[in-house]
């Protein structure tokens, strides 16, 4: 029914925004940024601190959260990733480095905000429910879905048509060749981290807006796992793949709850992941051996 479609789209939007961060970083750098869940959390905390603590309007708090998230991503790159890559380390060492950074970020949050859960006040969004067909949606739901769709379209267009987008795809395709062609690879990498982390931060803000009492220092944990599932299903470095994977995962969770029973949601979601790994390990839209960002 239509209500479940909306429930699915909301979850898919958050998963897609979050997983986009993984896909961008993996496409350009071939590494998995496992601090992404912590950045998801920091984005949400920044926005809720702005709204609750400094009384900013939501329309300013969201960009602030994204910028802070992006900045943390750049710091992560400069401190934890780039120095290791400069020394020619492979896939594993930067991965471990990002895990460590994630733990540091979580504990900073724990120290600053404590273990309690926070919410955006209900006053930030009109609470009047809107009835569409048979479904009851809140204005914030339409905002989340709408903004996500716009961002996905904008990101795809930027990557295909803008100079920066072409530079990112060039670095993703062949780092050395891009450097030889005069592209400032370090700058492109930093910008990619900024973009990826800003999107992850926005996903965190949406998560906090959608669900009360959900902003806490360890909120990144469950989404992190689902984000990984999304990119494996969709293709590790494919943007349309991320969107497809997010829809697939969110749909399988909803179908799992409605048809089979809520006890089996995780089993179904990760069963799908397992199936894809067996049948098509590069993901639905991923391409083995070549890069398509």
């Amino acid at each position: 029914m239509l209500q479940q479609v909306f429930n699915t789209l909301i979850n898919a939007s958050i998963y897609a925004l979050f997983a986009m961060g993984y896909a961008l970083v993996f496409g350009v750098l071939d590494i998995l940024n496992l601090a992404h869940g912590a950045i998801f959390m920091l984005g949400a905390f920044t926005a809720v601190q702005a709204v609750l603590g400094w009384h900013w309007p939501l329309v300013l708090a969201i960009p602030l959260g994204m910028v802070v998230g992006g900045a943390v991503g750049v710091v992560l790159d400069l401190v934890a990733v780039a120095p290791l890559q400069a020394r020619g380390s492979g896939f594993l060492t930067p991965l471990i480095s990002t895990i460590a950074a994630g733990i540091v970020f979580e504990n900073i949050s724990l120290g600053l905000f404590g273990p309690d859960a926070y919410s955006f006040p209900t006053s930030v969004f009109p609470q009047t429910p809107i009835t569409i067909g048979g479904a009851v949606v809140q204005p914030v739901d339409l905002f989340v879905i709408g903004l996500t769709v716009c961002l996905m379209v904008g990101l795809t267009a930027m990557l295909r048509y803008s100079t920066l987008g072409k530079a990112i795809r060039a670095v993703a395709a062949n780092r050395l060749a891009a450097q030889l062609l005069g592209i400032n690879v370090a700058r492109v990498v930093a910008i990619t981290f900024f973009l990826a982390s800003a999107l992850g931060a926005l996903a965190g803000i949406f998560y906090g807006l959608e669900l009360q009492d959900s902003i806490s220092f360890n909120m990144g944990g469950s989404v992190q796992l689902r984000g990984l599932a999304v990119i494996v299903v969709g293709g590790m470095d494919s943007i349309p793949g991320v969107m497809l994977g997010a829809l697939a995962l969110a749909s399988s969770e909803t179908i799992g709850i409605t048809e089979i029973g809520s006890s089996y949601t995780d089993a179904i979601a990760f069963g799908l992941l397992f199936l894809i790994l067996i049948v098509r390990p590069s993901g639905i839209l991923g391409r083995r051996g070549s890069r398509v960002v």
């Binding site: 029914m1 979850n11 273990p115 859960a117 998560y207 959608e210 669900l211 009360q212 709850i257 995780d266």
Partner: protein
């Protein structure tokens, strides 16, 4: 003998000992002369802190009042408070520390039934009496003859809750939503299903979630589609708040009441769910206007010390300390654990603030010998519902 090996082994042993000492959870204790030590294990931080903080506050109030009145037979009651942080491994650490290092005569706790099933067998084996003040799942006292429970079990309270709700609301169809990974919430489902059968109610849908889940919209959408007259919820406070909020936001009409188990008895449910908590019904062991003579003294002393009104969990912990003290007094000992155990079983009519009658005894199966009442959330308050 090769001394290098001996030195290496000694160093390793020393480091291990230091790490173990550092890894001990933090304890707060009061020093004393002729002293009897009782441990309090509660989730003061972590997901169940809404319960644990109240438990600690109620227990400390009781202990301080006892000591001001001269202690237990002149002995100072040393209440050692340990924070189990809603972590099963931390509860185990605390129990072992209190039993072996602090030599407590008994333990009050832990906060969650799921923690109790892990840790009370340890106390049973060590011969240390445990009084549970907030465990309400079935089977707690069955773990052994050293395990006592003064909190009312869900199996006692939920039938009364649903019977009372039926007398007002006359519903026929119910849906059940419960957490399938926690002993307390699973217990709620078992009791809900049995009571529904007993009262000839139709269960139109049963949905589950996991502790720590934040998004219940898919389950609630499905429940809404099944059109129940009432929704029975087995959840702890953090999930209960989200379920109430999301259920109303999805448009479940206010004529469909949420009926909860013991997890709903925290003021955190009212503050978290706000207007969406209106009409939620739950059974409780304690009520602010309860008949007990002690009750009003307890409420004013609690307010004076902590600046806020007590809740059911604080009241139960307050009673827990007093029941433990009554047992220690009757056993006339400061360290004999088996004498304490025997004395607890024989206790009669201990004055308490919980329950309908104002006095307490353990049942022959070491469960709570008192009756509960039902309450409903109206205008942001718990109101008695009879």
């Amino acid at each position: 003998m090769n001394f290098r090996h001996v030195r290496g082994a000694a160093l390793a042993l020393g480091v291990t000992a230091c790490l173990t000492a550092v890894g001990q959870p933090a304890l707060v204790s009061h020093a004393g002369g002729g002293t009897v030590s009782v441990g309090l294990v509660a989730d003061i931080t972590g997901a169940s802190s809404v319960y644990g903080v109240s438990i600690r506050d109620g227990a400390q109030l009781a202990a301080d009042q006892l000591n001001k009145a001269g202690g237990i037979r002149g002995n100072h009651l040393n209440l050692i408070v340990g924070d189990s942080a809603t972590s099963k491994s931390q509860v185990v650490n605390l129990y072992q520390q209190m039993i072996n290092s602090n030599h407590v005569i008994g333990i009050i706790g832990p906060t969650l039934s799921s923690e109790a099933f892990v840790v009370d067998p340890i106390a049973q084996q060590a011969g240390v009496p445990v009084i549970a003040t907030s465990n309400t799942a079935a089977g707690i006292s069955k773990m052994g003859n050293y395990i006592f429970r003064m909190s009312l079990g869900e199996g006692d309270v939920i039938p009364l809750t649903i019977k009372t709700a039926l007398s007002h609301l006359h519903f026929k169809k119910v849906a059940i939503l419960y957490g399938n990974d926690n002993a307390f919430t699973i217990g709620d489902n078992t009791v809900f299903a049995a009571v529904a059968k007993q009262f000839h109610l139709t269960v139109v849908d049963t949905e589950t979630f996991a502790t720590g889940d934040k998004n219940f919209k898919v389950q609630l959408t499905k429940i809404k589609g099944a059109k129940p007259d009432a929704i029975l919820v087995g959840a702890l406070a953090p999930e209960a708040v989200l379920i109430l909020n999301q259920g109303r936001q999805l448009g479940i009409p206010t004529s469909v009441h949420f009926i909860g188990g013991n997890g709903f008895n925290s003021p955190a449910v009212i503050s978290g769910a706000g207007a969406n908590a209106e009409g939620a019904i739950e059974g409780t062991a304690w009520f602010p206007t309860g008949k007990s003579a002690l009750n009003q003294h307890f409420i004013s002393a609690y307010k004076a010390r902590y600046g806020k009104a007590p809740d059911q969990f604080a009241a139960q912990a307050y009673d827990g300390v007093n029941i433990m003290a009554a047992g220690i007094k009757a056993a006339n000992t400061t360290s004999d654990r088996s004498a304490l155990r025997a004395a607890l079983t024989k206790l009669k009519n201990v004055p308490v603030v919980t329950g309908a009658s104002g006095t307490f005894s353990f049942t022959p199966t070491r469960d709570a010998g008192e009756l509960g009442t039902v309450q409903i959330i109206q205008h942001g308050q718990f109101v008695q519902y009879t």
